[in-house]
Structures are given as C-alpha cells and as structure tokens.
C-alpha cells in the first residue's frame, strides 16, 4: 500500500497535479467551504503570515507559502492561539543544533481544522482542535506503549528524540504553530477536538506546559507526605508544584530568583518559596529546612539556561559548549535526600552537560525524565480542569499579536514586565 502511494504521488507530481488533488492519492483532500474560510481571496498560492527565525535572538513575521497536505494522514490547521514556551528560548538563543533560518517555531497551539488528507477519519474541517506538541504515529514500538514523545516514525534527523512542532531539525524539521496555518501530521492521532466547556487559553496550555508540569510530578513518584522541591517558577515549575499536591505531597517548595514568579508560586501553587540569590548556598538551605535529610523529590523545571552559576551559564547558553547549563539539575541532585527521586522536566540539548553524576550514584538516586507524552495526560487533566483543581490560564501574563512576536520573545527572554507566560494571538 505504501509503495502504491509513493508511485501515485510521483505520477501525479510529474503530471503537475495541483497540491490538493493529492498527487495520486485515492481521494482528494477535504477542505472548509470557501464561505467558511477566513479570507475572501483565498487561493492555493496564498501566502500566510508566520513567525520566522532569523538567527540567534532575532525573529520576524514573514509571509510564507501556506502549508499543504504532504501525506494522506495530514491536516492543515488554521491557528487561533499559540504560546511561546520556555524551551522556545533555547532555539531563540541559538542553543539547539540544526535550528535553521527560516523555520517557524511554536509547539503550543490550538486552532480550527482547515483541510484534511484523504486518509483522515477522526477530525474534519471546521473542528476546533488542540494539538499536542509531540508529532507521533500511534503505532511504533514506543507509541504502542504510550511513549508518544519518543515516536520512532516521525524524526529522521535523530533517534534520541521524537518529533516536535517548530523545534529545529533535530526534532524533525516541522514548522510550528506561531503562524496563521500549520501542517499537522497524523491528524487522526494527535489533535483532539476541544471540549465545549474548555476555554481557549486553558486548551493551549494543555498542549504542553500543564501536561509537562503534571508529568514531571508523576515522574517524582510522590507518596503521601513527601517533601517536594521544584527548581524553577516558570510555567512548567508552577504546574509541577500545583500537581505535586494532587499526588499527595506534604510540603511543596519552589526555588527561583525572580521575585514576581515566586509570588505566583505562593498564590497559584500554594508553595513555600525561596529566592536562591538570598542564600549563600541553596543546597545547604534545602538541607536545613528538611532537618538535614533533604527533600524526598526534586524536580528540575529550568533546563538548559539555568542561572546561579556564571561559568555553567556562559559555557552553555552563551558559548554553546554544553547541551545545557545544569545548575538546577545539580542543585536537585545535591538537595534531594539519599535514595530520593529527581525528575527532570527542563529541556536540554543533545550535547553533553556537566552533570554531577557521581553524587547521583553515591546517593542512590532515581533520575527520571522524558519529554511529556502529552495526549496520554489529557483525559485525567481534563477531569482536573473541569473539577476546578487546575486553572492553567491563571498563569498567563501577556497576550501578544503575531505581528509583535519579536517583542514577545524579548519580553519573555529578558523576563521583563512580570512575564510568566505569553500567548500569541494570530487574528485567525
């Protein structure tokens, strides 16, 4: 069947078949009726606006070709809302290998299905959908066992990571959702129709940040009464702290250096907070507040650009000589009690990092980590949002039009204006 499809494609392609006639696929792609479409003068050749990477610290909005159906299982989604993720900043700062000029970032987005390939059965044009940040096939060895973030069928560039929208060629070379339109592969598997009761802002945060934070708490294997310390009070850290309570934590501590984020950790996540710049050694302080045993669980929700050690930060984030600055990870390893668990949710690049493995070994720690398999979390998270236990949009601080995305990246990157979570509104 696969061979027939490829032959058909080339036959159609060679004959100059228009894109939406699917180049030899058995049926034409289905699209929204012209009357339902957002533009009056729509045509196949139309250009769409998208955020485009122009090199480290530089992005702009450009007009690009509208994404098309490239595989019979694809959909094209008209993006209505997207977000900038903390891990987008690693791309923005030029830390992730094979981040190409011209790529559109954005792995947190929701929208309306505009077009589907001929094999798509589970979503239709007009459906309002949320799309997990993972691109995944649903049937490889890893997907069959729930590791959607480790899919083996979507990323030719690397075996060590699955596919992620708008996250460099190291993660598959897919353009992302900080744009008016985006190609969504395996539309029968990834996207889910947004429940009527779910707000757009809550939905967009479920595509990564909330799911990842909740997943990070799960990887901590929290038992009733555990002391949990979360390094980083960004969106993922805030959600991890909040989720730790759902799993029965007895005490939740959040560490950061940005006072406005620690304030949010107190009000949103009911956490006890410490600003590490106020302590000579935050690891010693963690020991002191836990009767010198250390917390049972430590969660690294910072990742590759952690501050707190200038040498680590500069060699990783500025000179790109490490896959990431593992300051928070090393603090987690050194803080947690012997035999405890460290959960790593912060994103790191594929290069080596100066991690204190000797301490992890000698302390008998369990280190757990992965990119979050988002769709696996959704049924339970939908319940928690509906029951009012989690309100993800409470952390949104900025809503930025796509046209101003360069300012959005700078505000988020430089932590200006009390920024915790910026959303991108596409006017779609």
């Amino acid at each position: 069947m696969a061979l027939r499809s490829v032959r058909g494609w080339f036959a159609g392609y060679a004959a100059g078949t228009p894109r939406t006639e699917c180049r030899g696929w058995p049926a034409v792609a289905t699209r929204l009726a012209e009357s339902e479409r957002p533009r009056d003068n729509w045509s196949e050749e139309a250009l769409v606006r998208a955020m485009v990477y122009r090199g480290p610290y530089k992005v702009r909005v450009e007009e690009k070709d509208r994404p098309g159906i490239e595989h019979p299982g694809d959909a094209v989604v008209r993006v209505t809302m997207a977000a900038i993720c903390g891990s987008d900043l690693h791309l923005y700062h030029g830390m992730m290998p094979d981040t190409r000029v011209g790529m559109t970032f954005g792995h947190e987005f929701i929208g309306v299905v505009d077009e589907v390939g001929p094999d798509v059965r589970n979503v239709r044009p007009g459906d309002r959908v949320m799309v997990p940040f993972n691109v995944f096939c649903g049937t490889c060895w890893f997907c069959a066992r729930g590791l959607y973030s480790n899919c083996h069928n979507v990323n030719p560039n690397a075996t060590a990571v699955g596919g992620i929208y708008g996250y460099s060629h190291t993660c598959g070379g897919y353009d992302g959702g900080q744009a008016e339109y985006v190609r969504v592969p395996f539309a029968d598997v990834g996207p889910t129709v947004i429940p009527e009761w779910l707000d757009d802002e809550d939905a967009v945060l479920l595509t990564d940040a909330l799911a990842t934070g909740y997943f990070g708490a799960q990887l901590g294997d929290i038992v009733e009464g555990d002391v949990v310390v979360v390094f980083g009070a960004g969106p993922v850290g805030l959600f991890a702290a909040k989720s730790a309570w759902l799993m029965g934590a007895g005490r939740v501590v959040v560490i950061d250096h940005l006072e406005y984020r620690l304030e949010k950790a107190r009000s949103f996540a009911h956490a006890e907070t410490y600003n590490f710049t106020e302590y000579d050694d935050i690891v010693v302080h963690m020991k002191k507040i836990t009767d010198h045993l250390g917390p049972d669980v430590a969660i690294d929700a910072v990742g590759a650009e952690a501050d707190g050690n200038l040498l680590q930060h500069v060699t990783a984030a500025k000179l790109k000589l490490q896959g990431g600055s593992p300051v928070a990870l090393n603090w987690a390893i050194d803080s947690v009690r012997k035999g405890g668990t460290v959960s790593v949710m912060g994103a790191y690049g594929p290069m080596f990092s100066a991690v204190k493995f000797g301490d992890a070994l000698n302390k008998g720690l369990t280190l757990r980590m992965n990119q979050c398999p988002v769709k696996r979390q959704w049924p339970r998270l939908f319940e928690h949002v509906r029951n009012g236990y989690l309100k993800p949009s409470d952390i949104v601080t900025h809503r930025i039009p796509l046209e101003h995305i360069a300012e959005g990246y700078h505000i988020f990157s430089a932590k200006l204006d009390g920024c915790i979570k910026p959303l991108i509104v596409t006017n779609g």
Partner: protein
C-alpha cells in the same frame, strides 16, 4: 532532631492539606496517574488505523541520522539545506552518529554559517535584516526594561551585558570590516590616480 529512623514531622496533616488545597490527594493512588507505569500498552492506538504509516514522498534527498534504518515515513519539510551551511549539515548527518560530539558541533557551526548566509542574502531583497526590530529590543522602553531588572536581585544580571555583545558584536565587526575594505580600496584608487 537527631539522625534516627523517624521522618521529620510535617507542619500540616493530610486532612489539613485536603481542606486547604483544592484537589489535594486526588491522584494519590498511582493507578490514577496516566503515565504510571511508564510502559503501558495503548489499546486504542490513539486513533491510528495502520500498522506502519504510508510513506511521505521525499521531494529532495532528506538528511537523516545514520542511527535510523531508513528514512522515517513522515518528516518535516521546513527549510531544505542549501549553501555552505547545507553542505555542512549534509556532511554531519552522513558522517557522524548522534553519539559523536562532532555531529552536533558541526550542526551548531552550520547554524552560525546559515545565519550569516541569510543575513547577506537579505540585503539583496527589499526587506533586509534589521537587528533592532528583529530582536524586539524596543520593548525595553515600553515594557519596563529598567525597573524589571534593577534592584530585583536577579541572578541573570551578571550576564545581561553579554546579550548585546553576542547580537550586535558580529554586526559591528562586519560593518567595521566592510568600511575598512572600502577605505582601503579608495586609498588604493587615489594612489593610482596620483601616480598617473
């Protein structure tokens, strides 16, 4: 408390936490946690109706990790490799596995070359690169750049000055080089004119 087998006491009991924090303990049972255990057979295959997906047509020789058996059936098509950076990328994928530092260092080098190729190319277009607008640095004025930074005990203040150097430094160097070349050429032309 001495180092005994006792666990240090918590300040709040589970009942107190349940009363204070909405949803406390609703996922106490690991069976309610969706990613426990890590490997769990997914009966519904999340909607997939294939064993192996159809293959996406390969419109140009798609670079891939040599750790893969074959080109994955679906892949991204953003930004095909081109120019010197493209050659570096293709070489890196063809030659080195993901386990080799050379693979990633070459890709990082290609990223820097790619940026300069595109900056230069942009000067041949009606919309050349503009580091002022593209860095969003104007938001320093409109979004409390000063008050967000100073007097806030921010750990990142130690390296804030590096960012402008990283962004503007290469532009200033390139500009200086260009001016130097022009002046040298002018001097050379003047000298030739004087000799006549």
């Amino acid at each position: 408390m001495a180092y005994t087998s006792e666990r240090p006491p918590l300040t709040e009991s589970s009942d107190q936490l349940r009363a204070r924090i909405p949803g406390w303990g609703v996922d106490l049972d690991p069976k309610d946690r969706p990613s426990v255990p890590k490997l769990r057979w997914q009966e519904d295959r999340t909607g997939a109706h294939w064993d192996f997906p159809e293959r996406q047509p390969e419109k140009w020789p798609r670079e891939r990790s040599i750790e893969h058996k074959f080109l994955t059936p679906v892949f991204g098509t953003s930004c095909p490799p081109r120019g010197i950076s493209g050659a570096l990328r293709r070489y890196s994928y063809r030659k080195y596995s993901e386990g080799r530092a050379a693979h990633w260092l070459l890709l990082l080098a290609a990223d820097r070359v790619d940026a300069w190729e595109n900056h230069l190319r942009s000067f041949l277009t009606p919309r050349p690169d503009n580091p002022i607008t593209q860095t969003g640095v104007t938001s320093e004025l409109s979004r409390h750049g000063i008050s967000s930074r100073y007097g806030k005990k921010r750990a990142d203040a130690a390296h804030h000055l590096l960012d402008p150097v990283i962004v503007a430094g290469p532009w200033i160097l390139a500009g200086g080089l260009a001016i130097g070349l022009v002046r040298r050429r002018n001097r050379s032309l003047t000298a030739k004119g004087g000799a006549r």
